[in-house]
């Protein structure tokens, strides 16, 4: 059993409870134990830092200080929400880099009887530990219901791969981590350029037209490549793509109807858990049609085209993105 400290974040507690539920549901399958940080507070999202700098970092600092008090066999702090992950990571890094900031944060923390030495914790995203610590082999082993013929559009959003202060992800513009995990579940994973574009974050509350265009672009990008479901790793992304899909349709007169699920929910389905346990059913766009596909054979003519080149084929050879082992 690998142990980790867990920072759920405000969203995972409620609006993205399905994300937390599904993560907890699969934890035995992937042999992970979580210890929640006691009495954690909000990370401030993208709001606190817009108002004041030191308080924003001190707010996050309290979480880091509390987590560091719980170090016992592990000093890795895991966050499932990309924004929480980035906030925790950034504050830790800036405290390491900027002595003045570090001093100020600790002066503030001391007013609450706390202290945090930057660099004490290793802050990682949930996807990171699942891919790199649990590993694809272990995941494959636990699959009892392969997600065959389910076309998945892995959606990364922004904050997990950018700015990536600790360089956990190899390529911010062509991430493969989620793709690999989904493939390990037996699903067909599509590559589409929009997968790293922003969902708009809180823009839905400030300028609907700006936000809806961003969401529309993502839905378009995935459906253009015939995805059955979009898989996310951040509560904000799930909310925007799912809960606002109808608004987007109304605004642009489109008719997108693509479900948005968390990657842990897909993992749970593949590991044989049932939908309710994984929090499925709380979405605005029903995943029913997509999930019905799991395990169904598709007819021959819709299968992937043969790759052998015909004799008179005038087309020019096409370069391909590098495989895992290839270093470019």
């Amino acid at each position: 059993m690998e142990k980790y400290l867990l920072y759920p974040g405000c969203a995972m507690e409620r609006s993205a409870s399905a994300y937390l539920d599904s993560t907890m549901a699969i934890r035995d399958d992937i042999a992970i134990e979580f210890e929640e940080v006691k009495d954690w507070n909000c990370c401030g999202a993208t709001e606190y830092i817009s108002v004041a700098q030191t308080p924003a970092h001190a707010l996050i600092g309290r979480n880091l200080a509390l987590a560091s008090q719980q170090i016992n066999g592990t000093n890795t702090l895991v966050a499932g929400c990309s924004a929480c992950y980035l906030n925790l990571s950034k504050t830790d890094n800036y405290m390491l880099e900027d002595d003045k900031l570090s001093e100020q944060v600790n002066v503030a923390l001391s007013a609450g009887g706390l202290n945090y030495q930057p660099g004490t914790l290793k802050i990682r995203h949930l996807l990171d530990i699942i891919l790199n610590d649990v590993g694809l082999a272990a995941i494959r082993e636990k699959v009892i219901r392969p997600l065959k013929q389910l076309r998945i559009a892995p959606y990364y959003g922004c904050m997990i791969t950018r700015p990536d202060p600790n360089k956990h992800f190899r390529n911010a513009e062509y991430p493969q981590s989620l793709d690999k995990v989904m493939r390990a579940l037996g699903a067909e994973v599509i590559d589409y350029p929009m997968k790293t574009h922003c969902c708009g974050g809180h823009m839905t509350q400030i300028s609907e037209s700006t936000a809806y265009e961003m969401i529309r672009g993502l839905l378009y990008g995935a459906t253009q490549y015939k995805a059955d479901v979009m898989v996310t790793l951040c509560p904000m992304c799930q909310l925007n793509l799912d809960a606002y899909q109808e608004n987007v349709n109304k605004h642009f007169k489109t008719n997108f109807n693509i479900p948005i699920l968390y990657f842990t929910q897909l993992m749970g389905l593949a590991f044989g858990h049932d939908a309710e346990e994984l929090g499925i059913g709380k979405e605005f766009v029903s995943p029913g049609k997509a999930l019905a596909k799991i395990g169904i054979e598709i007819p021959e003519d819709q299968a992937s085209p043969k790759t052998k080149r015909k004799k008179d084929d005038p087309s020019l050879p096409m370069p391909a993105m590098p495989k895992d082992e290839e270093v470019i």
Binding site: N171, E173, Y174, D191, Y192, P193, M194, E213, G217, Y220, G221, Q224, D313, P314, S315, L316, P317, M318, P319, A320, M321, P322, I328
Partner: protein
Amino acid sequence: MSAAPKSEKERVGVYVCHCGTNIAGIVDVEDVALWAKKELGDDGVVISRDYKFMCSSLGQELIEHDIEIEGLTRVVVAACSPHLHEATFRGACDRAGLNPYLCEMVSIREQVSWVTTDKVKATAKAKAMVASGVERVIHNEPLDRMYVPVHPDTLVVGGGIAGIQATLEISNSGNKVYLVEREPSIGGHMAQFDKTFPTLDCAACILTPRMVDVGNQPNVELYTWSEVERVDGYVGNFTVTIRKKARYIVEADCTGCGICWEKCPKKVIDDVFEAGLGYRKAVYTPFAQAVPKYPVIDTETCIYFQNGKCRACEKFCPTDAIDFNQEDEFITVTVGNIILATGYDTFDARRIPQYGYGRLANVFTSIEFERMCNAAGPTDGEIVMRDGVTKPKSVGIVHCVGSRDNRYNSYCSVICCMSSLKFAHVVKERTDAEVYEFYIDMRTAYKDYDEFYQRVLEEGTHFIRGKVAEITDAARQPGEEGKLIIQAEDTLISRQRRIPVDMVILSTALEPRPDSKEVGHKFGISCSANGWFIEKHPKLDPVATMTEGIFIAGAVQGPKDIPTSVAQGAAAAARVLCHIGQEQIELEPVRASVNADKCSGCRICNDLCPFNAILFHEDLMVTEINQALCQGCGTCVAACPAGAITGSGFTNNQIMAQIEGMLMFSESNGMTRVAEPVAA
């Protein structure tokens, strides 16, 4: 171990240079000069002067005068780095009749005034440096100049335009050149291009006559499909082993008729010459005008080499020139000089996934597009999309892909602005397509380059100043469906624009060859942080390296255009011809010698010599150093456990004295003497 005492005091002259304010601004040079006379007088300093610019004629005359009139026997000049003016001051001594090796420089500029702003500390250190120089020079012995003969043959590595130029210049002068080229044919990247800017000359038309000349020049021994395996020796006398890889073709019998590749059933993507855009066979010549004409068999794709079947080429060859049992040949040659002209590689655009190369079909790189434009290329010169058929109605050209970007290569690749303009011109010439060019700056610096820009402006290409953010197929509005959308900020109108096009050309960066470090190591030269080979001096000596006798020319030294590569090839050739013409090269007479009485025959030094200059006399059980081969690197001197080896110009006495001189005076006591040199 201390310095051995000297029997008679030398007459030492000390000269402290102001170097304008470079030294004098930080170091109290007058004080140093006075101090030297006072504190080092007992050690032999009879003259001590300070002067504004020692390297000037007047400064040098000061030294000459003092040698002649005051009878100086040793000279110490405290000034800039010996790299700059050691030769100057030694020359002054020589003219005045003093052996030049009795003159030492100490650097109180690069090592003192340029590394601190603390005047007190700087002056103290300058004094210590002068003391060390004086103590050392007392132990200098007069040395005779050393000359080594220069072998008149030359090795040129790399058969691109720079290497070809150098080869022709040297071989036309009557001297022999070995030209080694890794690919099956010479020609380099220039052979891949369609047109060259700014004249729009056909690249092959201007290159192939030179290639033919190389092939026909009797003074050139051409080794293609070959690599340099090993380099030993030093300037004037390099021993080079060339690995001539097996072509599996018997050159003596091959007529270049081409039946072998015609009949070969195995077609593969040509990643090298066709840049992955076209095909070749397993047995092939890279292009029609290849020099030499002999094909090669690629064992990784040849059906026979992979699973023992086929052998069609052998069957059909009319002159029986296929030999599957051929082996790599090793040829050892002796040359006096080496020119490295191994060129560049292109940036892998898949490293910038947001530009779509490798994901979106109609995104091409500049080298792919060159092949497309080339009349002998995979599309016979037709500008078509990846399906091989459709003509694009709109083309986007993107500058700075992988250049001027801290995340990839921070340098500018020099030629891409011009080649982007060239592409715009060619597209306009051959199609009706609209052309959009995205740039940050327009770098058209050289002769007729800006005129070319004017010409392209006249032709109606749309220029948008903004580095492209991304290239996508996710349409946002009608008109974008099915197209590649280039998204960039048009910075001149401060608006983000999305331009839908059919085809995109990425002007990719030039990069060093991936094996530059290994190659550099093989030849004994270094690469810069960016991976290009380092020249001796970026302004004044761009084709020489820090290793005597090894020269660099062309893009291997940094991105550059064809005229500059040609000029560098010729420049390197001129340097080589200068060496050859002089027939001998003067070397620093710093070399090691063994005191046979002290040598115990342990032989620890024998295998350490990088120049194979050490011999062992079995009968006498002592080691001897070949003075002609020794380069004075000092390895054996340091290794000898008995201290039996000494380096002339760097004797143990000299080194110890130098160290003692440095430490003889105490800074905390205002630079007064705290120790005596053992010499006194």
